[in-house]
Subunit: 190 residues, 2 copies
Amino acid sequence: MKLLEDRILKDGKVYPGEVLKVSGFLNHLIDESLLDEIGKEISARFKDDNVTKILTIEASGIAIACAAARYLHAPMLFAKKSKTSNISDSCYTAEVMSYTHGTKSTICVDKDYLCAGDRVLIVDDFLARGEAVKGLISLINQAGATLTGCAIAIEKGFQPGGAELRAHGIRVESLAIIESMTDTSLTFRH
Amino acid sequence: MKLLEDRILKDGKVYPGEVLKVSGFLNHLIDESLLDEIGKEISARFKDDNVTKILTIEASGIAIACAAARYLHAPMLFAKKSKTSNISDSCYTAEVMSYTHGTKSTICVDKDYLCAGDRVLIVDDFLARGEAVKGLISLINQAGATLTGCAIAIEKGFQPGGAELRAHGIRVESLAIIESMTDTSLTFRH
C-alpha cells in the first residue's frame, strides 16, 4: 500500500534494535485519514471471505481493527491484556510474549463474544515474530471459530513471524512489508 | 442519543456496585455501526469548535475516539497507561485512579504530539468520578493546549465527575446520562 509505505518513509523513525517507531501517525498519534484508507484496503482484500468478526489485541491494534470493521461491516473484538474486575471469569486466554516491550502477558476474550460459527479476521499494527498473532489464533481455536486470515499494517519481513504463519497455510496480508532496515535506510518488499 | 440508550437497555448488564457492563457492544466486542453513529453524533456536537486533536486514554476510549476523529477530520492521540520502551522519555504524565479496576496508573503522551496551539476534544467511553478526564486535562494543561470540551459515551449522572467538570465551566457532552441504576432498573436523564 503505497500511501502507507510513503508515510513510513516520511515520518517513521528507526531506532537501534530494528525498532520502527510509527507513533506519529499510526499507534500513538493516529492520522484519521490514513487510518480510514487502511480500513478500506483491508476490506478490499478480505471482502469476499464472509468475515463475521474482526479480532485484535489492545491497545495499538484497536484503531486499525475499527477501521477494518467499519468497511467489512463486522463487529470488532479486542483481546484484553490482563484480567480486570470488569471482565467475565468465563474467558479464553493465551500467553503472549512482547519482544518489543520485554514483557509477557495473558490475553483474554470473553467466551460469549467468540463463537464456533465465527469467521475471524485478525488485524494488528505490526507483525514481527508473530507472538501476538499466535496468541490470537489460540483464542480462535479454543472457540472453535474459523480463521480467515491476518491483516497487518506493517510486517517486518526480516523477522520470522510472517513466513511461519504462511508456511502453515494462513493467509497473511501485510499492507507494508519491510525487507530490511538500518539506521540510514529502509526498503520494502513488493 | 436514543440509539445508544436503547442499546444500553437492550444489551447492557448491571452488576453490584453500580457497574454497568457494555462489553457486548461498546468496549470489548464493538458494534461497528453503533460506533460510527457515535462518531457522527460527537462530530455534530463539536463541529463548530475547530478541534485540532482528539485525546483519549487506552484502551476502551480508542474506538470511540477514532470514530469521532473520522468525522471531525482531526488526528487522534491516545494516552498510554504506562511507560513502555517504545515511547519517548519526553512525555507529559499524570496519575489516574481507576475505581472500577481498583488500580492507579500513570498516563502519558509524547510531548511531540500535544502542542500549545492544539484545540483538544477529550473523548472517553465512561464518565463516573471523572478521574480519567482530570488526568487528560492535566496533560492538556501541561502542553499549554486548549480544552474544547469532553465527549462521553455514557455518563453515570449519579456520580460526581460530570457535575464537577461542568462546575468548572467545561463543556461535557454525554450521549447517554444514567440518572439511576439498580439491579432491576435503569433510567436516563434528559
